[in-house]
């Protein structure tokens, strides 16, 4: 069953054509890694999936609802589709525990006791249960990003979007975050769309690799074909050789 379907999606910023005739289907439980040079539209694409960016043409079906339809309730989509950002975006005025409990309380009306139990379970899952009473600013970037993942997981989403989750982190923090993400990816029920340049992550847990440039999807391969064979697209081959040698 497909979780996310793009059909001939177009997105413009004024005259700028940010997404060019996007066709992409992601099945439930799949992990898809989205790569491409900066300005290629990969962040724009991932942000359309939970309605942070609106599309102008085409059809975008997420969890059975069409996001091109103005009447679609975005909050209902976002209950089922979590997002992790490059800069974490933890609530600066709330403790770690409150960061995780707030949305389930307000949006899902989850009872307080159950809410706290789930929040602590999620903190445990990302290895940070002892940080619960702290404020976000007291944590390192890598810890904050793991909290952000726990916050998304606490909503019990069907899909998770990751927009360059390790790009703002110090190198020694990256593995902690990637390990948490790999752990989620191995859970066969979670659909993941990940914008990243961490090819080790892609090699290990991705089902497919999608390459974008200038707002087009140029390559959509299985992991095996992308890494072991050769991408058929010339730009994708060049890009791959650059990030692998680095």
């Amino acid at each position: 069953m497909s979780m996310i379907e793009f059909h001939n999606v177009q997105k413009y910023y004024g005259d700028f054509h940010a997404l060019h005739d996007i066709n992409l289907t992601i099945d439930a439980g799949e992990t898809v890694v989205l790569i491409g040079p900066s300005g290629s539209g990969k962040s724009t694409l991932i942000r359309t999936v939970n309605g942070l960016e609106r599309i102008q043409e085409g059809q975008l079906i997420v969890n059975g609802q069409d996001l091109a339809n103005r009447k679609t309730d975005m909050n209902r989509i976002r209950k089922n589709v979590g997002m992790v950002f490059q800069h974490f975006n933890l609530y600066a005025n709330k403790t770690i525990l409150e960061n995780i409990m707030l949305a389930p309380r307000l949006v899902l009306k989850r009872p307080e006791e159950e809410n706290k139990k789930i929040a602590m379970d999620m903190l445990d899952r990302v290895g940070l249960a002892d940080q619960a009473p702290k404020m976000p600013a007291q944590l390192s970037g890598g810890q904050q990003q793991r909290i952000a993942i726990a916050r998304s997981l606490a909503m019990r989403p069907k899909a998770l979007l990751f927009d360059e989750p390790t790009s703002a982190l110090d190198p020694e923090m990256i593995d902690d975050v990637l390990n948490v993400m790999k752990d989620i990816a191995r859970d066969s029920s979670m659909t993941m769309l990940v914008v990243t340049h961490e090819m080790g992550f892609a090699r290990e847990v991705a089902n497919r690799v999608v390459f974008m440039a200038d707002g087009h999807i140029l390559e959509d391969d299985t992991k095996e074909k992308f890494f072991d064979g050769q991408p058929s697209n010339e730009r994708a081959r060049q890009f791959l050789s650059k990030i692998i040698t680095h």
């Binding site: 975005m74 976002r78 975006n89 005025n93 707030l102 307000l106 952000a148």
Partner: protein, 212 residues
């Protein structure tokens, strides 16, 4: 100076009370109305943004005295009789709320947009995100400029003197012309204003430190 207090104690006390009462009412309501228009200014709803823009630009750019006179003179002509105190307090509230709206809006806009985006992506509605995440952070930023607005508000309450609001300034004028001791009278009036504004300014500074 003691003679002024001795001979005109009742008038001074009444003036002080009226000024304090007007300031408290205007402060409370201008904070509520100002915050409301600040939120209107940043909503995704265009009509609310337009309403807020018009309100703020109109009342921020007309002298307080003109707004107050409007309520004191024009409203009774068409609607209902209104006391000088009421006209002055309403005028002061509306005038100050326009400045508070601008102050709070700048606070909201200085909160990292990632906070709103993170909250929306987490499933919160725009209003939930505003109320639980953005506004608490915005108010923390704007305590110092809000303190300035509050102090200005107390001082601007002297507009009541023009519409027979029986406030400190009004009683000061009465006492000065009765006692003919102009200098001492206005020194006393100044001190009485300080008794309101200095604690207010220290309280705002305390809040700023406590919440920072």
């Amino acid at each position: 100076m003691i003679a002024i207090f001795h001979n005109y104690g009742g008038l001074l006390l009444q003036g002080f009370g009226q000024t304090l009462l007007c300031s408290i009412i205007a402060l409370l309501f201008s904070l509520i109305i100002g915050s409301m228009f600040a939120i209107f200014e940043v909503t995704p709803v265009k009509s609310l943004r337009v309403i807020a823009r018009v309100y703020i630009e109109v009342f921020r750019n007309i002298p307080l005295l003109v707004i107050t006179m409007f309520f004191y003179v024009v409203i009774p002509m068409f609607v209902t009789k209104i006391s000088g105190f009421a006209a002055g307090t309403v005028g002061l509230t509306i005038y100050t709320s326009a400045f508070i709206a601008e102050t709070v809006r700048s606070g909201i806009q200085s909160v990292d947009p990632g906070q709103m985006e993170g909250a929306r992506a987490n499933g919160l509605s725009w209003w939930q995100a505003m109320r639980h995440i953005v506004l608490p952070q915005a108010f923390r930023y704007v305590i110092p400029p809000l303190g300035n607005q509050f102090i200005n508000l107390v001082k601007n309450s002297s507009v009541l003197a023009f519409v027979a609001g029986f406030d400190l300034m009004y009683q000061g004028n009465v006492i000065a012309s009765d006692s003919l001791n102009t200098m001492t009278t206005y020194v006393v009036i100044g001190i009485l204003y300080l008794i309101i504004t200095l604690p207010l300014s220290y309280w705002m500074r305390y809040l700023e430190k406590k919440l920072a």
